[in-house]
């Protein structure tokens, strides 16, 4: 379990007051869960991870790892990285080029406080390597491994000490697309099998959505929204989250009326749109209605229901195999939509755009 309470990290910036890389964030990673910090580069996610690892010293707050206080600004507790019960995988893998595969994995056992006999080391390294399917590579030099193998080696090295917590810093970002997909799956399987508490840092929404129990979306040093992958994707609570995760269309307007049950109607340039309205928004507030490209249905003929149906014109249609990427002109606005590959239209064709009420969200404009 990891508990982070009002963690703050300030980087000195010349003579200025300093840059708040992490600005008082708090979160808890429950035992055995896979928790992801997701955000654009510079949002403070890696800094948070490094503070938990002990590679950076925070400037305020408290960090508890596996029940042990490793950092607290109040009483000047700071446990150095090498005394924390962690295993970490780095973005560059950080495989030591001067050691063999075996020695890379044996390293944590050789340097730790606890001494192991060489028979123990052999056994532990062997099983760690077997876990990541590198059992046959023990005597190779680490640099002779391919990218994906180095990635798995880094994982074995992080796990060999049987840490309480596994920290992963964008571990898949250096792999090519195919391999990344496979490793995503393997990593998740391994984590499930070992039930190890895992904190994962990434800027890739697909990694976050596919692997996590809980996602925290970060921006400018604070957590914007925390929740399960479905919540984050389907119920973004701010424009930032909606934009950052997946692609979205935005129609701006103001709330015309509220209908209870979290639904309402928003007046836009293209007419009134019925949609979900975020709690706390009152009539008249400026909002954007966000809707995902894959939620939007296009009809060549006017559909039977007339709720949220707007007339438009095909701006561009691109056949991408899995789907057709259709841009629709609504007045002077472009809507991006994904349609089934059977949908056939040409540029300039008139279409009817249907926005499903349940999949439109009105969010604060700022």
């Amino acid at each position: 379990m990891i508990e982070v309470k009002s963690l703050t990290k300030i980087y000195a910036d010349g003579d200025n007051a300093g840059v708040k890389a992490v600005d008082g964030i708090s979160f808890t990673v429950e035992e055995g869960r896979f928790y992801t910090l997701l955000g654009p580069s510079g949002c403070g996610k890696t800094t948070t991870l490094r503070c938990i690892a002990g590679l950076e010293k925070a400037n305020g707050g408290e960090i508890v790892v596996a029940g042990k206080k490793v950092y607290a600004a109040g009483d000047h507790t700071f446990v150095p990285a090498y005394r924390r019960p962690i295993g970490m995988v780095f973005q560059s893998y950080a495989i030591w080029p001067h050691l063999t595969v075996f020695e890379n994995v044996a390293f944590p056992l050789r340097v730790g406080k606890q001494r192991f006999s060489s028979a123990d080391i052999r056994k532990k390294v062997g099983s760690a390597l077997a876990q990541v399917e590198l059992g046959d590579y023990e005597e190779r030099m680490a640099t002779q491994l391919s990218g994906g193998q180095q990635q798995r080696l880094a994982l074995a090295r992080a796990l060999v000490r049987e840490p309480q917590v596994l920290l992963l810093d964008e571990p898949l970002s250096n792999l090519d697309a195919k391999l990344r997909e496979r490793m995503r799956f393997e990593l998740r399987e391994l984590q499930r099998r070992l039930r190890i508490t895992t904190l994962y840092v990434t800027h890739d929404q697909i990694e976050a959505l596919s692997m996590s129990n809980v996602i925290a979306v970060m921006n400018s040093g604070v957590i914007i929204q925390e929740g399960g992958p479905r919540d984050i994707y389907l119920q973004p609570k701010s424009k930032f989250v909606a934009n950052f995760i997946g692609s979205t269309n935005q129609l701006s307007g103001h709330v015309a009326r509220l209908e209870g049950n979290g639904t309402g109607a928003v007046k836009t340039e293209n007419g009134e749109i019925s949609c979900q309205v975020l709690d706390g928004l009152g009539v008249g507030s400026h909002v954007v209605v966000v809707v995902r490209p894959e939620s939007i249905n296009l009809h060549i003929d006017h559909p039977q229901s007339s709720l949220n149906v707007i007339e438009g014109k095909i701006g561009a249609a691109m056949f991408l195999g899995e789907y057709v990427d259709c841009a629709v002109e609504l007045g002077n606005q472009m809507l991006q939509t994904h349609q089934r590959y059977t949908f056939q239209v040409r540029r300039g064709d008139p279409v009817w755009v249907e926005l499903p009420v349940a999949e439109c969200m009105a969010l604060p404009a700022e």
């Binding site: 010293k57 090498y82 005394r83 030591w96 080029p97 001067h98 390293f107 992080a158």
Partner: protein, 577 residues
């Protein structure tokens, strides 16, 4: 690394003194201040003192008066200027020509000339001078004797005991440096810059003139500057050729002030301060020029395959130049030393002389105590200096580039300062320091160790920081995250990764320490004599053929040390992708 996560800027508690995060940099700074700053301070104080190591300090300007307002001031200044600028120009021309021919043209067999061009580096400056005296002395120099008999000349055509002679001898010893620097400049030149000139319609000559040459200007300027400063600082040629010829430069003036009876430390100190300032200004200009150069740098660290210049039929002229350069300038000095080392007395190669060849000089050395002492001193000093320097600089470089400690640039600066200290100035400063201080190391090899260590720290820094910068910090962080403490990380991860760079630095420092002359000439006396000083004194006494034998053994020893070290440390096959 991890334990060194020092809070940046904000007021957390200071780490305790035993914390390596504070302890290591402080010790590093302490050592560097002791080595680099203290002697300079003593030198400055000493140059304003009425007498050496006085009970009380009596301030005086008479040292500066003696140094800079005497009847010799003008001639020394003129000689130094001509010697330094002449050598810089000649070295630059030769080095650039060699680099250009081997790097950018289709001269036949240019590949084998690249390693050959660097060979003179193992020939100590003292031996270089001695070899050229053997060749160009007006009385017995081989080349003079041959040319005289060949053309029936009345007087020898060359006289090495002259300013042009000094310039020539010093230059050929420095050519490898200019060659290496210019090769790097040629190598880093992006060929597309020239190709785009050609695509714009410029011919080969236009391209060369308008693009190639212009691109070389920053590199050429800094090479010239560094050659000028190094010549000014050098003492080998001024000692062996300049002093007998009564052509005095600043370094020889310092030496003579020290060699008077009683030694005039004050005047020597005042001269040394002047030389130090000149050298510091040169280094400052140099580092400014290279920084300026970086702004216009089009190099991205990529290895280019430079365009080759088709010389046409002229390529045989290029080949002829390369071949004769190596025959006359690289090989001949070695050959003449080798030949002379088997002679009972100096004689021109002839049937007569061949019959007199023997191993007598080597046999004599076998029983000659001072030779063995000097050899031992040189070996101990070279290996110890190289080892200590690399240890110290790898720590300092780590602190400077990895620890992100506030103020670590001070360490970087301190480790750079010694590059501005000319060898003979270092010697002068250490005399003043250890005559005044009650540490009884003056006259032992330990004062030489301190001197060498100080002078060669900048070289070690360059080797160590170059390889430290290549180590991704995650490699060290991974060790911390694996449970390794700071020392454990440094020992098991950082040092092994640094090894190739450290080995290269070690070998280089070992070579320069082994051939060191201008510092040792003031500090090495009696029991602490090293080989280069033994060569110098015995040459002055006229035992020239024994000197040649010592020279040959010296080169052999140097090669052996490097080979053994190379073998011991092994080549580490780290492929960093």
């Amino acid at each position: 690394m991890a334990t060194l996560a020092i809070p940046r800027g904000t007021g957390a508690t200071l780490p305790s003194f035993r914390d390596p995060a504070l302890f290591v940099p402080l010790v590093g700074a302490g050592i560097l201040i002791y080595l680099a700053v203290l002697p300079l301070l003593m030198l400055l104080i000493g140059s304003f003192q009425a007498e050496v190591a006085p009970r009380e300090f009596v301030y005086t300007l008479k040292n500066y008066q003696a140094a800079y307002a005497s009847e010799y001031t003008y001639s020394t200044f003129k000689n130094s200027l001509i010697f330094a600028s002449g050598s810089a120009a000649l070295t630059f021309v030769l080095g650039t020509l060699l680099a250009w021919l081997t790097e950018r043209t289709n001269t036949p067999l240019r590949g084998i000339f690249v390693p050959l061009a660097v060979v003179p580096l193992i020939l100590p400056g003292v031996l270089e001078s001695i070899a050229w005296i053997f060749l160009l002395s007006p009385k017995f120099g081989y080349i003079n004797v041959w040319l005289k008999s060949l053309f029936g000349l009345a007087s020898p055509p060359f006289n090495v005991f002259s300013l042009p002679g000094m310039i020539w001898v010093h230059s050929v010893g420095q050519v490898p440096l200019a060659f290496l620097m210019m090769t790097a400049a040629f190598k880093s030149m992006d060929p597309s810059l020239e190709e785009s000139a050609m695509m714009s319609g410029a011919g080969a000559w236009q391209t060369f003139k308008r693009v190639t040459l212009r691109l070389l200007v920053p590199a050429a300027g800094s090479v010239l500057l560094i050659l000028f400063v190094r010549t000014l600082e050098s003492f080998e040629t001024p000692a062996l050729i300049g002093i007998p010829a009564r052509i005095y430069v600043y370094t020889s003036e310092i030496f003579l002030a020290f060699n008077e009876y009683p030694p005039d430390y004050g005047r020597g100190g005042a001269l040394a301060v002047g030389l130090l300032i000149l050298s510091a200004v040169g280094v400052w200009l140099y580092s400014r020029a290279t920084k300026e150069g970086k702004k216009f740098q089009t190099v991205t660290g990529k290895a280019f395959r430079p365009r080759q210049f088709d010389l046409g039929r002229w390529r045989w002229v290029g080949f002829g130049f390369l071949a004769s350069y190596f025959a006359f300038v690289v090989l001949l000095p070695f050959l003449v030393l080798f030949w002379a080392s088997f002679l009972p007395f100096f004689a021109a190669p002839s049937w007569d002389a061949v019959q007199k060849l023997s191993l007598d000089n080597y046999r004599y050395l076998n029983g000659f105590r001072p030779f063995w002492d000097a050899l031992q001193n040189s070996i101990v000093l070279a290996t110890l200096t190289a080892t200590l320097a690399m240890l110290l600089t790898s720590l300092v470089a780590w602190i400077v580039y990895k620890s992100r400690l506030p103020g670590s640039w001070i360490l970087d600066f301190l480790a750079f300062v010694p590059i501005t200290i000319p060898g003979i100035v270092m010697g002068m400063a250490l005399i003043l320091l250890y005559v005044a201080f009650p540490i009884p190391i003056y006259g032992t090899i330990w004062v030489l160790l301190i001197a060498y260590l100080t002078r060669f720290i900048p070289y070690g820094m360059r080797a160590a920081s170059g390889s430290i910068l290549q180590i991704h910090s995650e490699l060290e962080e991974a060790a911390a995250a694996s449970g390794a403490s700071w020392w454990e990380t440094f020992r098991r991860v950082t040092l092994p990764l640094l090894r190739p760079g450290l080995v290269a630095g070690w070998i280089y420092i070992c070579i320069v320490s082994f051939r060191e002359f201008s510092t040792s000439v003031l500090l090495a006396t009696g029991e602490s004599r090293v080989l280069s000083i033994l060569l110098f004194t015995m040459f002055e006494q006229g035992q020239v053929t024994v000197v040649a034998a010592i020279g040959i053994l010296m080169i052999a020893t140097l090669l052996a040390i490097v080979a053994v070290f190379y073998k011991l440390t092994g080549r580490v096959g780290i492929q960093t992708q």
